[in-house]
């Protein structure tokens, strides 16, 4: 931040003054200004390689042969492209089915999270009812206790409901989203009350105001939260891993651990093809909607 401000200030001065003071400023620039700027870009390029490079490597290796994946020295591009790695993947395990499962679970969990937290967020922000603050405090406390603490009895509960190895078992326990309730409560609290008050004076009931005024106004926030929770639901592993043990209900992530145990350390090209299948959809969603994702994540703060 500080570096860029300096640069902005430096850039702002010459056009304001005459052309004469601009010259010495430019002469000084290479040493004093360019160095921090170059240094910054150098650090950030290295960082980009460390943080994003592994994904590029993953895609490249997924097209190599098993031997080439482990060749010393390593090749950057595959000497021979092997797209059949991907078809082999679908022969080893029903990845098509895993994909369908992942999409079904992620989409329905997200829809449930958006609807329930939108409703609760609105109620906590705008409606007065007895016990509201107490209920909200309970949610607040629950946010601090990770789900991983309660999983042993939860699985027994799902088992007694007959929900192990089922879509409802994978989806319904995921639906309540405390984070979503917070985000929407925050959003509606910061919203001016005039429009809703006017509608109330005109005799519009709660549901009508909710549907015709509040939900349309919250559309950008709904979009951000939906994208973020889709990504989190797609990536969810631990809960799915313990709630399911039949292959027909595996998601892509569980399928990957199956692949890891079958192909082990020898066929890294296949493992990378599997990882590519799991990672690419999320990265595409992220690249398309990164502003919304970032907004939803940092919006949890304010």
């Amino acid at each position: 931040m500080t570096i860029s401000l300096e640069r902005e200030a430096a850039a702002a001065v010459p056009p304001a003054g005459s052309s004469r003071p601009a010259r010495p400023a430019r002469r000084r620039r290479p040493l004093r200004r360019l160095l921090p700027s170059t240094l910054r870009h150098a650090v950030l390029i290295v960082a980009s390689l460390i943080f994003f490079g592994p994904f590029i490597w993953m895609v490249l290796v997924s097209f190599k042969s098993a031997q080439e994946a482990l060749s010393v020295p390593p090749t950057f591009l595959p000497t021979e492209w092997h797209p059949e790695n991907y078809t082999r993947l679908f022969e080893i395990a029903p990845f098509g089915r895993f994909y369908v499962n992942t999409v079904v679970v992620a989409v329905l969990s997200t829809a449930g999270q958006v609807i329930t937290s939108l409703m609760a967020g609105y109620a906590f922000a705008r409606l007065r009812f007895r016990g509201r603050n107490l209920l909200f405090l309970v949610l607040l406390a629950a946010l601090m206790v990770p789900f991983e603490i309660v999983f042993t009895p939860l699985i027994t509960l799902l088992s007694s409901l007959g929900w192990l190895n089922s879509y409802q078992g994978l989806i319904v326990p995921n639906v309540p989203s405390i984070l979503g309730v917070f985000l929407f409560r925050q959003f509606f609290s910061n919203f001016p009350t005039e429009i809703e008050d006017a509608a109330r004076m005109d005799g519009a009931g709660v549901w009508q105001r909710f549907r015709t005024i509040m939900v349309p106004m919250a559309t950008p926030m709904i979009g951000s939260f939906a994208i973020l929770s889709f990504v989190y639901n797609w990536n969810n592993f631990f809960f799915q891993f313990i709630a399911v043990n039949r292959t027909e209900f595996f998601t892509v992530q569980i399928g990957l651990t199956l692949l890891q145990s079958q192909e082990g350390a020898s066929n890294f090209n296949l493992l990378m093809a599997g990882s590519t299948l799991a990672v690419i959809p999320v990265l595409v969603v992220f690249l398309l909607f990164q502003n919304q994702i970032v907004k939803a994540i940092s919006g949890g703060l304010r």
Binding site: L70, V72, R128, A142, E148, F151, F237, A265, I297
Partner: protein
């Protein structure tokens, strides 16, 4: 006067029924979240606490009986392995939380303000946080493989013999820690970026006029002003490292010799492999108490205003 009173009566009556209606609608709107949370979260939480005092077996639930504090005593017996799992979790948390915060803050500071390539760099650094853990962990296990892995190949010219990072001590836990920092840095960066962008530029300009350099301005202006954000990140970071499972499951399977086994991993083994539900739930209760303590201590350090802002 009487006219006024009679005009007011229906009005206040109307308003009261309206409030009652709104109250009922309020309950209806919060019901789905509340009911689902009670069934799938609070009820199992209650069961966790109750079962921790019993010899509950998830595989044969009929025979459960009360055993007092035996499970807790068992946890702290040296043979249980729980203490070493707790120690591993603590090591991961103690390195990962400040590590990812320091790197994230550095990047956030470097990415603050407009310059060419800014959003590109942000995207690249943030990507690991959004990618599915199993996929990323498989990439790391490939990069770290002893023969033909990129890391060992890169170390070879320096005369380093191939290292089995994921199956030797202490490298395995180092690899797990590096991986989690790699995943978390994008998150801390985004949160710090949001905090830095709220600092008015005039603060920095004023300090610059007084002759303060880049480092001095960072330490005296940016750092104190992101302190509440750091408090928030410490809490969320500690709570998320208490839950570490997937990273370890894929990278090391808890090995070698349990050196990367985390608390949740230990609970998973007890509950699902050894059907020792009493020990699993007792360990969950201990983790729960640790989480509550950590949060309470943190909230005590944060001022009241910051806490409200945080939520």
């Amino acid at each position: 006067m009487t006219a006024l009173a009679s005009a007011r009566l229906p009005e206040s009556y109307r308003r009261r029924t309206m409030h009652e209606k709104e109250g009922r609608a309020g309950y209806a709107l919060v019901a789905p979240t509340t009911i689902l949370l009670s069934v799938f979260y609070l009820y199992p939480l209650l069961q966790t606490v109750v079962y921790s005092f019993t010899d509950w077996n998830p595989g044969a639930p009929g025979t459960t009986s009360f055993v007092g504090l035996d499970n807790f005593a068992g946890l702290f017996a040296p043979t249980s392995g729980f203490l070493s799992a707790l120690r591993n979790t603590a090591i991961i948390a103690i390195v990962v939380v400040p590590g990812s915060m320091a790197v994230g803050l550095l990047f956030a500071a470097m990415l603050d303000g407009p310059f060419r390539g800014r959003s590109f760099y942000r995207t690249m650094i943030f990507a690991p946080h959004i990618a599915p853990t199993v996929g990323s962990a498989l990439i790391f296990s490939y990069l770290l493989t002893p023969l033909g892995g990129l890391v060992n190949t890169a170390l070879e010219p320096f005369g380093v013999n191939p290292i089995s990072f994921l199956t030797t001590e202490p490298w395995a836990i180092v690899a797990v820690i590096v991986f989690i920092v790699w995943q978390q840095t994008g998150y801390t960066m985004i949160i710090f970026s949001a905090a830095l962008s709220t600092i008015p530029p005039s603060y920095h300009e004023a300090a610059k006029l007084d002759g303060a350099g880049v480092v001095r301005r960072f330490l005296s202006i940016s750092l104190p002003l992101v302190a509440p954000t750091s408090g928030f990140l410490v809490i969320t970071g500690l709570i998320s490292t208490l839950q570490v499972f997937t990273q370890v499951y894929v990278l090391t399977g808890g090995g070698p010799l349990g050196s990367t086994k985390t608390a949740i991993y230990w609970i998973y083994e007890q509950g699902f492999q050894f059907f020792n539900g009493g020990a699993a739930t007792a360990a969950s209760v201990v983790l729960l108490l640790i989480g509550i303590t950590v949060t309470a201590v943190q909230l005590k350090f944060l001022s009241r205003r910051d806490t409200v802002e945080m939520l």
